[in-house]
């Protein structure tokens, strides 16, 4: 049966081990992509929140100054 497989099919067939190899690679891909997407979505949401909060306090000095020692509200992370 393996003899009359096209080269593409025999590539996917992986010598009969396809149920192991493809799920393995697949889960790796899925988890990496999921971690990336989750991070990017959370980053976007967080940035929107930050913009909203900064818009509410216009007289506060913009945090993107380059002075290394900030004002009294420079929170120690």
């Amino acid at each position: 049966m393996t003899e009359d497989m096209s080269p593409l099919m025999s590539f996917f067939h992986m010598g009969g081990y396809w149920p192991y190899i493809w799920p393995a690679y697949g889960v790796v891909a899925v988890l990496f992509i999921a971690l990336l997407v989750w991070t990017l979505v959370a980053l976007k949401r967080s940035r929107l929140e930050l913009e909203a909060l900064e818009a509410l306090a216009p007289r506060r000095r913009r945090r993107n100054t380059t002075s290394p020692a900030g004002g009294p509200d420079d929170a120690q992370p």
């Binding site: 192991y20 190899i21 393995a24 690679y25 967080s46 940035r47 380059t66 929170a75 992370p77």
Partner: protein, 252 residues
């Protein structure tokens, strides 16, 4: 920001969040490029242009996703420990951020090492889980990541959470070699004579190539994820600081 280290220089300038953002913005495209390029080449060589193993046949290809995952799991924990050390000793504010950012990444790499290791074990040894020395050590490492994440979440006071987690990471990295040593010992006592085949019986250079390319791909991906999560963590902290300031100003 007082620091016991007078010659801060580069690292001190980096502590400024704006500078960090600029540096990470500059670095990011390169990392993304390396990630995509190496994954492309690694998948090509790993899945297509590399030989099959004499005994394991095609299943040896799982090694190209499993072994780099295990390496990155160790590298992630080392990052946790180093950032913990820097956070406690030099109080560098980015160190704590780096630790918080790394933990979930490390947990994912560790889980992938376990999962792909299990899949590799089934056709090789006929069983989904085997108490082989490396898999057992990686399983323990997985719980050490979970412990780090749990202790970070156990305190409302973020500063306290950071200090406790940093200390835990340092203690963990000291004990990790001892754990590895004792698990290796335990494994040689209880395993039958067959040598672990999971490392690949012969490291043909044609097999080494995809392995190393994938390892670089994983490392670049780690860099991308780390920078992104550090930005996320910094943004979250600023949000929280602003919210607390507003709450403080609101009370009469």
């Amino acid at each position: 920001m007082a620091s016991p280290n007078p010659s801060g220089g580069f690292w001190h300038r980096l502590a400024n969040p704006a500078r960090f953002q600029r540096l990470s913005a500059w670095l990011m495209p390169w990392l993304v490029l390396i990630t995509l390029g190496c994954f492309g080449a690694g998948l090509y060589y790993g899945l297509y242009a590399s030989p099959i193993d004499y005994q394991q046949k095609d299943t040896v290809r799982i090694m190209y996703v499993h072994v780099p995952a295990a390496w990155l799991a160790m590298m992630s924990y080392s990052t946790l420990a180093i950032s913990g050390f820097v956070a406690l000793v030099w109080r560098h504010p980015l160190a704590d951020v780096a630790g918080a950012a790394t933990a979930p990444i490390g947990a994912v790499f560790t889980f992938l090492a376990l999962f792909t290791g299990a899949i590799w074990g089934q056709p090789t040894w006929g069983t989904w889980w085997v108490w082989d020395a490396r898999l057992t050590s990686v399983l323990i490492l997985f719980f050490m990541f979970l412990g780090y994440i749990a202790i970070r979440n156990a305190f409302d006071d973020q500063a306290r959470a950071g200090r406790a987690a940093s200390l835990l990471a340092i203690v963990g990295v000291v004990i990790l070699p001892i754990i590895k040593f004792s698990v290796d010992w335990w494994n040689t006592l209880h395993q039958p004579a067959s040598v672990s085949k999971l490392s690949g019986s012969s490291m043909d250079p044609a097999m080494l190539r995809p392995l190393l390319i994938m390892a670089v791909a994983y490392m670049a991906l780690f860099g991308v994820l780390l920078l992104l999560r550090m930005r996320l963590e910094l943004t979250r902290r600023r949000v929280e600081a602003l919210q607390m300031a507003r709450a403080g100003a609101a009370t009469p």
